[in-house]
């Protein structure tokens, strides 16, 4: 496992990471900028500078760490930091702790350690192009159903799908067609009344969430964004709008 860990880290630990791990003066100015620190009665273990000790240790041990160790890393990088980057704003050297936490999350993911929900979402992205495993047929059917329902209230309302040359490509959170179609209906009403020139796309690219980013799975992350860009280019829209 140690070899795999080093193979993963080597190309990814760049000049900045090396410099930061070396020059952090352990001054503690980041401590009270962290909401995990203040919300836990100033628990010293929550000091951002302390949380990245794992990266330093793993590199020093040349990846020779066991599963229990990685589990401890998991507890810290997922449940004691949400990569908000506030500590960086107060660090005299502007050390980007969140970037290092993100790398640790990516390392854990490469070793098969990640929150279950995220892993499931990533499988869905890869298979269906959205996090909720909505098929293309179900997606289009949901839009059509929304249109029918809403048109009863606002006569003449249309929800455009794959309209070429529209001004906006509107994207949603995949939870909306799955659990909250009423959100899509409300938006349809607003767009209709405002006379906005918009469209949905029928093929993958309509889900604007990017959960794979949270475990550092940049490959899937990239695929998700590329899908949206592909659709935007195909439909020749001017802008992409994302749901609230």
């Amino acid at each position: 496992m140690s070899q795999e860990i080093m193979e993963f880290l080597k190309p990814r630990v760049g000049a900045r990471f090396k410099m930061w791990l070396n020059i952090c003066a352990h001054c503690g100015l980041c401590a009270n900028t962290c909401h995990y620190y203040t919300a836990n009665d100033n628990d010293p273990k929550m000091i951002p500078s302390y949380k990245i000790r794992f990266l330093k240790e793993i590199l020093r041990k040349k990846g020779k760490v066991d599963r229990d160790y990685l589990q401890r890393v998991y507890e810290t990088v997922y449940y004691e930091c949400n990569m908000c980057r506030r500590c960086t704003l107060y660090c005299p050297f502007a050390i980007d702790i969140a970037l290092m936490i993100s790398l640790l999350r990516a390392l854990l993911f490469s070793q098969g350690i990640a929150p279950e929900g995220l892993v499931r979402a990533i499988e869905n992205y890869k298979k269906f192009g959205n996090q909720m495993a909505v098929t293309d047929e179900d997606w289009v059917e949901t839009i059509e159903w929304c249109e029918e329902e809403t048109a009863e209230e606002l006569v003449g309302l249309k929800i455009p799908i794959d309209k070429k040359g529209a001004k906006l490509l509107y994207t949603v959170n995949a939870r909306e067609p799955m659990f909250y179609p009423q959100d899509m209906m409300e938006v349809a009403k607003i767009f209709h009344v405002a006379g906005e020139d918009y469209t949905y796309c029928s093929k993958p690219g309509w889900d604007d969430t990017n959960l794979s980013m949270f475990c550092g799975d940049l490959k899937t992350s990239k695929m998700i964004v590329e899908n949206t860009f592909k659709r935007a280019e195909e439909l020749e829209v001017k802008q992409v709008a994302i749901t609230e």
Binding site: A15, R16, G28, N42, Y50
Partner: protein, 221 residues
Amino acid sequence: MDFFSFVEGPLLWIAFLIFIIGSLIRVATFVSLSTKKDKIIYQHFSWKYVFATLVRWILPLNKDLVKNPVFSILGYIFHICLIVVPIWYAGHITLWEESRFEWSWSSIPDGLADWMTLIFLAIAIFFLLRRIFSPGIRLISAFSDYLLLIVTALPFLTGYFLTHGTLDGIGFWGDNMQLFHMLSAELMLILIPFTKLSHYILFFFSRGASGVEFGRRGYSI
């Protein structure tokens, strides 16, 4: 050549060369590695954000001053004394004038240098106590953090003893204060490139890199 002449001559050369060449290597390593592995810095490079962030943190115009006023102000004074006293102390300048370089520049009054030394030492002691007694800071402190603080303070302590003859005639330590002063300063110079003290130069690159990273998202840090 006796030990004193060695410390006064060759070792001083060695210390300065390690300090200068070592620092240059640290910078060169960062630049060459970052062009390969941190391309994002160069793809989005903007002097505007780099300059803004450096000015904010070199001058006390930053968020820390509001968030942690005591530590920030002490930190600024600490660094000002650390830079000003060794370079502009009249006794040091005399040595430069007598050296083969014959360099000379104006000095600060000795009284001011004295006060700055004492203030520096007081802050250093405060930092040390903070490291020992503040639970958070103690947790994140490594052995090197204590060591380097002492290494940084020693030249000032010995310098003060030397100029005031505080310990003169008191045994081995008192009689060799000039030796200890030079040795402690040389130790610090030698350690700079290999430790976190290299932040004296890498500060600019670290802040610059993050300045670009935040700047490309339209936020000037």
